[in-house]
């Protein structure tokens, strides 16, 4: 091969390698960033600055993608798909390869979701849903409340005035029978709860009802009957048809020792609170 022939191969190399090098650099920077973000020096200056510098406003979008991927892991690898207009051979094959069934991870396998929540929250620390889902995965399913508490503490460091995180902290403390910390967290949640919520904000209304309900349990179990009664009265002003709250308030007014009953009610409340978002999705096929 002569010299000109040898130099003739350069264009192919120059076309392939810069692209590969750019991709390599970006991926390496991303992986390195995931690791170095744990460094105290970066933590002390606020983690947002680093990711904003690296990815700009795209970090939130990427964080949402990773959060969605965590949800896929929560459902055992099954993605949430929409209903197709027709079924063809290729789709039948695709359904055999990736069946559209509805199941949840249980036990320690739920921890497999946590790396994706970790990345999602690193990219977007204001993604409160990701902090909450990670906490739920670690505590309610994984039965590791100490890790859940650590996740929540980190989430609160980034979102110090978010009532949902305090509500979850209170819920977590109630599950661990830590009544005082639970009452404190739920009181803080009430204090930081935004006052000017629109009337049609169903989620906020539901959260406020939970705050008042759980707060009343915590104070009732601690023997702080006046505070428990105050929360129940506020709860009944928002939901007058809540028969359980009405009964409990009447019992408190009578002066009876209601702590055992409160514990039983609380147990029922905590076991029936979580509902999978996909279960309310009409377009999602549910195979047993």
């Amino acid at each position: 091969m002569n010299r000109s022939a040898a130099t003739g191969s350069l264009p192919s190399a120059t076309l392939a390698l810069p692209g590969l090098a750019a991709l390599a650099l970006w991926l390496a920077a991303f992986a390195l960033a995931c690791y170095t973000l744990e460094h105290p020096a970066l933590q002390s200056r606020g983690s947002n600055s680093f990711w904003t510098f690296l990815l700009g406003s795209g970090r939130s979008a990427l964080g949402q993608t990773l959060y969605a991927h965590a949800d896929v892991y929560f459902h055992g690898g099954v993605a949430n798909s929409s209903r197709p207009a027709f079924r063809h051979l290729f789709q039948r094959w695709a359904e055999v390869i990736a069946p559209n069934r509805h199941r949840h991870e249980e036990g320690v396998s739920i921890f497999e979701t946590l790396p994706w929540y970790r990345w999602a929250t690193q990219l977007d620390p204001q993604n409160v849903d990701a902090w909450l889902d990670a906490t739920y995965a670690a505590s309610a399913i994984g039965q590791r409340p100490e890790f859940a508490a650590r996740i929540l503490a980190e989430g609160l460091r980034h979102n110090p005035r978010n009532y949902r995180l305090y509500l979850e902290r209170g819920r977590l403390a109630l599950r661990r029978s830590d009544w005082s910390p639970a009452a404190y967290a739920l009181d803080v949640a009430l204090r930081v709860f935004p006052e000017n919520r629109p009337a049609d904000d169903v989620e906020a209304r539901q959260a406020l009802l939970s705050l008042l309900n759980l707060g009343s349990f915590a104070h009732e179990i601690l023997g702080e009957r006046d505070q428990a009664a105050a929360r129940l009265r506020q709860l009944l002003s928002l939901a007058p048809d809540n028969a359980v709250a009405r009964t409990r308030l009447a019992e408190l007014k009578r002066g009876a020792d209601t702590r055992a009953a409160a514990l039983a009610y609380l147990q029922q409340t905590l076991t029936g609170e979580h509902r999978c978002a996909r279960e309310t999705d009409d377009e999602h096929d549910h195979h047993p």
């Binding site: 003739g8 192919s12 392939a16 690898g77 207009a85 946590l114 970790r118 890790f147 650590r150 996740i151």
Partner: protein, 262 residues
Amino acid sequence: MNRCLVIARMVWLDLLRRKDLYVLLILLGGLLLALLSLNVFGLGGMVRYVKDAGLLLAWLFSWILAISVASRQLPQEETRRTIYSLLAKPLTRGELLFGKWLGAWSVVCAATSLFYLLIMLVVAARGGRFEPLTLAQTGLLHALGLGVLTALALALSTRATQSAAAALAYVGALASYLIVPQVPVFLAAETGLRANGLLILYYALPHLELFDLRQRAVHDWGPVPGALVAGLVLYSLVWIALLLLLGWLGFRRKRFARGAAR
């Protein structure tokens, strides 16, 4: 057939002389090690995300390698002017094309096997493992998908420059993998001309997503039925044959002007 094997061997030697494969291997190893060092809220023992990200990187790198290797074969021979000496030998253009495809496909498959091996080692170091039969099926279907991709890039390079062929192959591959599987969902909201256009895309492009068994390997769903694998082998062979035929039709009467650099 022997002449095809000689051509394929030349493709292997060419890739081994270049740095692409080594760069990708080092990069994959580095990224997998970075994945292992992730601090997941102080909790250890998770391995599925390493499998997932590892296999994703293996797919990404094997596609990059397949398109870059296949799309440069014929334009490179032309630029180097070695095409004249090749065609002067007792070798038909069809044999040259098939030999180039065989070499590109086999060398990319070999590189992909190395990627898989590296991932298996890292996963094992983390205390995890793949289900062997599922992983074998994942690798087999991945290799078949790469066969279609190399045939596509090679066919495009018979009538386009290397960069144009590579760009078109990337666009075609990404459309096949990302958009085509969503067409039945898009069609639920489309009518008329747009719906017909989507249907044409759905049937005219290869369904590369069918060769992706990564989720089964990552989430331990177990192997797919043998009949499905057989169907996919047949499907990929049809696509490879069709694309190589199109490539041959574009290449068989192509005139090479001496002195014209591409």
